[in-house]
Symmetry: C2
Subunit: 234 residues, 2 copies
């Protein structure tokens, strides 16, 4: 995708920030756990957040087969999906030139239901892999009742566009002598201290490597308890 | 709002997570810089991210008067606005019981244009106050051309609902003996090191108090340059 794939994915506002390449799109999606889905149910337009993940050229979502979102989207209602990462506030020397740094993607299309058992399992495995590689083999897999209660949907990523702003403020030349502080106040989504539910004799690598100070706190507690650092007690 | 304000704001999926009180709604909105807006233009449904802020009982947005979003919404098109904060991944002992911690709000309504000059100025001042109290008096205010090029819209917060999940996994009793690590892997939006555009002899308090290690890095640089810690050079 070197150009916009359709009229409605052509970015009109500040078009120089548009990105139509697959790499950018996939990076934005893969960095997200949540998307917002817009759809019209014949009466109202809805905007609903839900978990999402990518596998190949599709964005996947899942939910209860009793839910309105799943029921409507599985009928092939036209939808629009947005994913946004806010990277910072951009402070300019004039009120008008303030901005934000962000990475966003908007996808248009109709969701289709993933019905074949093998495809559905593979899709749900991909979600578990997104949380942590290896975890799907540690937990109890879904039984037939749970799998039947879950709808998996996917939408093609062919009609999509990304928009990325990064960098400092773009002030008017005449404003450059104004003394107001200008620059970027960055925001970042970070991983913080894991909170175990229960006591464990071993901590998986993906929990040890999650951010925050828990492994350190844990080491200190363990040292106090005389337990080796490869295991811990809450 | 002790109960849902309308049929379409009644939360049907996991209704015990619903929050219809004003405090929760306002806290979720005030913690956000960005919302997603869904609307139907007669042909397609769109989901567009944009900056937002609250003043009193309304959510405000702004944009170029040449933009599609602003043009359509100012005509009173039905819209739905969602704000979502992701607080963590919830790892359960079964694949099926995995979840997420989040705070989300969905608002339904029609935007109205803020036209009166004084109201428009007050709304844009409130946006600047959200970035940092005091900043609006430091920067160059909008001139008549800039103000005319900006549309400010607002939507009432009367038809809205919030949904909040926090806490650990809810496993089935029969799964509690499974050894898989269970707990919360938290995610948090944090403020990181400010990045100045240019050199400043004084750093405003709101930049000093922004997160990250910049003030410390800065102090070190300043010490090396022989400059007092109340001012800095990039």
């Amino acid at each position: 995708m070197s150009s916009y794939p359709s009229g409605r994915t052509r970015i009109r506002r500040v078009p120089e920030l548009a990105k139509y390449d697959q790499d950018t799109l996939y990076q934005i999606i893969d960095a997200a756990y949540v998307c917002h889905i817009a759809f019209y149910d014949g009466t109202s337009t809805h905007c609903i957040p839900t978990a999402c993940w990518r596998s190949g050229g599709h964005l996947y979502i899942h939910g209860s087969n009793g839910g309105r979102l799943m029921k409507l989207l599985s009928k092939g209602v036209e939808a629009s999906v947005a994913i946004t990462h806010l990277d910072g506030l951009v402070l300019a020397r004039s009120a008008f030139n303030h901005s934000m740094n962000y990475r966003s993607a908007v996808i248009y299309g109709q969701f289709e239901q993933v019905i074949a058992e093998a495809d559905k399992s593979a899709a749900l495995d991909a979600l578990m892999d997104k949380i942590a590689i290896g975890r799907k083999d540690e937990v109890r897999p879904g039984n037939s009742k749970e799998t039947a209660a879950t709808i998996v949907l996917r939408v093609s990523l062919t009609e999509a566009a990304a928009k990325v702003r990064c960098g400092g403020p773009l002030d008017d030349a005449k404003d450059m002598q104004i003394g107001a502080w200008a620059g970027v106040l960055p925001l970042e989504q970070v991983q913080t201290t894991p909170m175990p539910d229960g006591k464990y004799s071993a901590i998986p690598k993906y929990v040890q490597e999650w951010g925050g100070s828990w492994p350190v706190i844990c080491s200190t507690i363990l040292a106090g308890l005389g337990i080796a650092s490869s295991s811990h007690s809450e």
